[in-house]
Symmetry: C2
Subunit: 118 residues, 2 copies
């Protein structure tokens, strides 16, 4: 079975993909891929996602330059989630932070633990 045929896309034709910094292990973001984005990621070696709001496939960093070079790709046990270890250029988050997961639960509230890069 081909790489892509082993992936279970959901009813919307999408699969969640987690991007993890290959060097630090930090989880940077979670986004969605359609089949085209998954294929382009596998073929190009750079992460491509599907924007649900813009309804189009895109290469991460195509406008910002904050590309993600794929180091390794993993598929989970039931085939419906991808994990990418990547080399991130610049911040992964559109807020200009290294990681999208910059809000941490502390004493019952979400606290920002990271400032945007200058």
């Amino acid at each position: 079975m081909s790489l892509i045929d082993s992936i279970t896309f959901n009813e919307a034709g999408l699969v969640p993909a987690i991007a993890q910094d290959a060097a630090t292990g930090r989880v940077l973001m979670m986004a969605w891929m359609n089949e085209e984005a998954a294929l382009q990621t596998l073929e190009s070696g750079y992460a491509h996602y599907y924007s649900r709001s813009r309804k189009k496939q895109w290469q991460k960093g195509e406008s910002s330059g904050h590309v993600q070079k794929v180091v390794a790709i993993y598929l989970d046990c039931d085939g419906d989630t991808l994990l990418l270890k990547i080399e991130q250029t610049g911040p992964a988050c559109h807020t200009n932070r290294e990681s999208c997961f910059f809000q941490q639960q502390k004493d019952g509230v979400w606290v920002s633990i990271e400032e945007p890069m200058k």
Copy 2:
């Protein structure tokens, strides 16, 4: 705004949650939470998820004993994905592997990189 009100649940009332080993940084699994599961995770300090196949909320490890003690919880920039740093008891995967992400892309095929625990 309360912790739970800051979380954007999808049209099915669910939010994806990534579980990462707090000690090793390894990404162990991705599963879904409904509001009840998120609340119980926040209140109990142990990961709870929602099973889409069984259509019920459950504590991870409630039958296997493979519980996940929450060390930290993060919310992403647009509020629709959670990241949990956890202490995992036993294997996280139902296949008895440490991580659900045990299939790695190598030379165009998915290769199992981890054996089930004995």
